[in-house]
Amino acid sequence: MSSTTVTPSRRGFSFGEYITCLNGIVWREALRFLHQRERFVSALVRPLVWLFIFAAGFRQVLGISIIPPYETYILYEVYIAPGLMAMIQLFNGMQSSLSMVYDREMGNMRTLLVSPLPRGYLLFCKLLAGTAVSLLQVYAFLVIAWLWDITPPPIGYLTALPALVLSGLMLGSLGMLISSGIKQLENFAGVMNFVIFPMFFASSALYPLWRVQEGSPMLYYVCQFNPFTHAVELIRFALYGQINWISFFVVVGCTAVFMIGAILAYDPSRGLARRGPAGGET
């Protein structure tokens, strides 16, 4: 029954094929996002509520001393803006992974996984697509924030871009890693509560770490070990044309670990294989 000869099939893939595939996946993700207008609106409303209401209320309570990268006293709104940008990416990363769980349940994920291109590359494209969508949201937020007098130096809008790509990839790959372990869509809400809220609140997004240290040294260390803190700081420094090297290396390292974990988790001999086919199929 075994054959010793093979019918020719072109080996490997050209650079153009890889780019075409990436374009296709990003294009599809952007289309889906634009079709879901309510998703776009809710993605913007969330940080704006924090900015317009929460920050206005806490402005008088939380004083911010001069800390890098700021060179002068700043308003609380200015301080939390990078944290809110990272929050958009955190929610988007989790939302993308939620859509992966949905796609897997609905069967759409199979279309992606049976592509002949390397599976690791396909998942990387999926992550890049999610990050691209998060960038649309972040820059829309920055436009509104600018109207609210949050005006980083003009060059900051450009220098923040690589930091946003990196943090988007880290948070997206974390979401993908989590989604690979979720069997059903219903289980996702619990994971959101156990991941998003602890990550967001135990970070420097809302208050500087020296303030946290004053209140609770233990929480300070938790915040220091939280990758989200470093995503926030990377964005904060980049928005002012600077780089926080510690945050940079932490984010790069975490991105690599989460991404490798996510790719391994979607490996056919691991992730999906343990669970068996979808309901009703055998």
């Binding site: 029954m1 019918t7 075409t20 879901q36 592509s115 001999s269 068996g276 086919p277 055998t282």
Partner: protein, 273 residues
């Protein structure tokens, strides 16, 4: 014959061998494949070939292991034991080469309902590295072939079940594969839509020389000249041309032959249509 008995055909039948391509390569070669979900064994030492330009029906009741086998062939699951080759390319060792030659229609719908018909095709083309211009050209061709040109801009959720299935088949053919897998492709469709799809797939075999593996539990989708693999409780009970399997079991028709092979009179009766 019971599920534990020896399969009727241990080796590929001569008629299958005759229809192998000049290089002697089977379109699909399944060799001693086994798969378990924990303690539950879904496939047990499954072996068979699908010849190029042939229509092979994979017949089995629900739960026979058909979808597990499809997941292994498409590399959604890793192979635990055995080997699967597509035109000689090992699905584990050379997945890219193997998957290039393969088109798949899964049992659950895998179209993106919120995208248009054309957008779904373009997305699939991109996943195979086909550039936008070429993809648009091919999309136009396949839509014309399945008589859906006028729905090119419609959202997929506005299509009927039969149109969605036809679109999935068209999508599976967009990258010009040489082997097509269809897993219960007509489930949930009305009689006319079923007949249209079956005729379309048989036409692909006759006109384009595509090898087809058609998983089904419906006897009326199988004709005497088809190749047949009977899968029951994870084991291959019979394989060969349908007429030969019927003759070997001493039955008059495929329905009776299947019942004799599986001993599943009651169950099979409910699947017959």
């Amino acid at each position: 014959m019971t599920a534990t008995q020896k399969p009727i055909a241990d080796k590929p039948s001569p008629d299958i061998l005759m229809r192998q391509d000049p290089a002697g390569v089977a379109a699909l070669s399944i060799e001693s494949v086994s798969h378990s979900y924990g303690a539950r064994r879904a496939l047990i030492d499954v072996s068979f070939d699908v010849a190029p330009a042939s229509f092979t029906a994979l017949l089995g009741l629900n739960g026979a292991g058909k979808s597990t086998l499809f997941s292994l062939i498409t590399r959604l699951f890793g192979i635990q034991a055995g080997r699967i080759g597509i035109f000689g390319h090992d699905i584990s060792g050379a997945p890219g080469e193997a998957l290039r030659l393969l088109g798949v229609v899964f049992q659950p719908r895998t179209l993106d309902l919120d995208l248009s018909v054309t957008q779904n095709l373009l997305y699939h083309a991109a996943l195979h590295g086909i550039g936008r211009r070429e993809a648009r050209l091919r999309s136009g061709e396949v839509l014309a072939r399945i008589a859906l040109s006028d729905r090119a801009g419609s959202k997929v959720r506005d299509l009927s079940g039969g149109q969605m299935r036809r679109l999935e088949i068209a999508r599976a053919l967009l990258h010009r594969p040489r082997l097509l897998l269809l897993d219960e492709a007509t489930v949930g469709l009305d009689v006319k839509a079923r007949s249209d799809i079956l005729n379309h797939v048989r036409q692909l075999v006759a006109e384009q020389g595509i090898g087809v593996l058609w998983a089904t539990h419906l006897f009326d989708e199988i004709t005497a000249s088809d190749d047949l693999v009977v899968l029951h409780q994870g084991k291959v009970l019979a394989r060969g041309q349908v007429s030969r399997v019927i003759a070997d079991t001493g039955a008059q028709d495929i329905n009776t032959a299947f019942m004799r092979l599986t001993g599943a009179v009651g169950k099979a009766g409910s699947e017959a249509s």
